[in-house]
Amino acid sequence: MKSRHKKLALIGGALAVIGIIAALVLNALNSNIALYISPTDVAAGKAPQGKVFRIGGMVKEGSLQRQADGVTLAFVVTDTEKDITVNYKGILPDLFKEGKGVVAQGRMSDAGTFTANEVLAKHDENYMPPEAAKAVDDAQSRAAGKHVSPSSVSQPKTGY
């Protein structure tokens, strides 16, 4: 092969490889991102059907329930406006607590509840996952808009 042909082959090969890789990466990215959706949006039917997504909010006080096997759980996530029931099987993270922020990843079940395969609570007692904080803040600012009394709702700690 002449050196020019060699160069062309090299460049052509490299472009093909990069093209394949780019397609692969974008495909992987596209099918593996999880959107954050607030309980209000879920209630409004904006949750993707059959696709994995994340919900964020606060665990409603007194809502945690255990089945007889001890590791099948249900709890309610709320953004103070709307609630959604989350089903989960497994061990909860150390910082999972009623009244605290939580993020859960999973998908909608046919019964209209959320089936989580992963529950995340963050590592600091005062820490609220930003997605959970946003869901609650948005719901509260909507509520504040309606009632014109922002002080009536106690602000959750959103500090880090």
């Binding site: 490299a14 990466v25 992987a28 990215l29 593996n32 255990r66 001890g70 497994g90």
Partner: protein
Amino acid sequence: MIPELGHFALILAALVALLLGTLPLLGAHRNRLAWVAVARPAASALALLVTFSFACLTQAFVANDFSVVYVAQHSNSLLPIQYRVAGVWGGHEGSLLLWMLMLTWWAFAVALLSRQLPEVMVARVLGTLGLVAFGFLLFILMTSSPFERLLPGAAEGRDLNPLLQDPGLVIHPPLLYMGYVGFSVAFAFAIAALLSGQLDAAWARWSRPWTMAAWCFLTLGIAMGSWWAYYELGWGGWWFWDPVENASFMPWLAGTALIHSLAVTEKRGSFKNWTVLLAISAFSLSLLGTFLVRSGVLTSVHAFATDPRRGVFILIFLVAVIGSSLALFAWRAPKVGLGGRFALVSRESLLLTNNVLLVVACATVLLGTLYPLLIDALGAGKISVGPPYFNAVFVPLMTPILFLMGVAPFARWKEASVPEIARAVRWALLPAVVVAIALPLIYGAWSALTALGLLLAAWIVATALLNFAERVRHTRAGRSFLAAALSQPRHFFGMHLAHIGIAVFVVGVTMVSSFQEEKDVKMAPGESVDVAGYHFTFKGVRAVDGPNYAAARGEFDLAVDGRFVRTMHPEKRNYHSSAMPMTEAAIDAGVLRDVYVSLGEPIDRARPEGEWAVRVYYKPFVDWIWGGCVLMALGGLVAMLDRRYRIRSRAAATVATPAGSQQA
């Protein structure tokens, strides 16, 4: 008083760093030898001042001086002494000071160990490090001083995050930072070479051992972090594709590419521009990692208290470093020759492929890490990119790298022949295929992905042994095989050791992801559960007191085939000062498997002596993951100690022997 001294030393250090970053560089430019001679003493003074400052902060921690804000926030009088010392880097300010300490030590090491280098080169390298140090010192002094006072002082400290109260904290950050910061030396060598216009084989030779050292530290640091997460976080995972893990993994990928590219630059004089660009990238990615972690744009295990000024400062610093070095590159690089030519199939082209794949892998990690930030910044909603993305991308990218890793050592420089290589490696295919078919069947389930991982791992080991044997045969010259084997150069040993480390790592990853078993169950005292043939009997939970926590300690009897193996004690701790619960898993580690028990929560919170939710794991070959990393670092260490890096090599500035396939 002592914290003020530390603060003052830091201010002095900033002045010295400014001096180091200007005078020697100007002196090198204008040929003023007196200015050039400032570099070494200034670097030593800088190291001394920062070390003193660091010692002052350590003293404040050890003496429980809660009138220092940083100490009050990250320590407590009940905290055991080793965590009080390690607590120095348990928060943002102190970890930056540790970063700084490492940087000045690296600069000091360069000043000390560079007697064989031309003075002007040393001046440029140390000058560049001085500028980097100046930037970071300004950052610490302006936004993150660890010496701020709290008046009146607090009576008691807030305590160190319980997650950090572990031997891992003592080791992981220093190792990781040594690696991160170590790439600043490779960066400084690249900048010095660009400034002088002397981008030759000698530059690559000088730069190689430093790059290798940084890479070894980074490898160990990442492995240590992974192991820590595995036993401390209680989820049994060893890698989560957490943004901060990615932040340390990206410089590793770029650094690995850099090591291989430096080999080509040294041996053949090719890839010079590319090598310089990689050196700049590796350090820039270290800085980017620092920015991502410290600015609080990421939410992660590692995110400390945030302050927007810090993010802005690091961003400006990042832009200044990357911008100026790329501008310098654009200005200088065309003057740099292209080096030796090579054929389509040659050692060079194979190493180029390795580089391209590693860089692409690095780019995909970068994309996955920054994509959620980008989408959020565009206001298009909040998303998360999870492990499935990274796994989907990494398997196809790593497969060719691992395959070529077995082939490349057989390829000749300049021009290699495919049939010749095929002949040399064909016998490696046999053991590889046997392992890939047999091992999954022994473990019960054959799947294509498992077989692929094991095939590649066995392939790497077999080809490494073949390559070693072949080289020994060729250099034997009448000696016994053993004598010839032992007289091989260290870089050759090192290369194969590191590659075998990769193979060991791959075995670990493949086996644990294919055959691990996990059970989450409710257990009452006296009940038992079986996982993969291991029989766990729960004996109950009792309360125990630690130095600064109260714990519920579980007792489990582990048995195999009816034989008692040992008692395991997982704990659920509650730290007094922070009221944070913490899970301490109990692990029975072994060469071929770990078994792992951790306590979830009591089923009825009012009755902790009753039933508990319990998680048990069986993890085959999981320790091979970290063992492989240790082998890699060991290989790097051995290669770094190769004799030729210690010989006075100013004369050997020209391209070294192009003959044969001896060296990598």
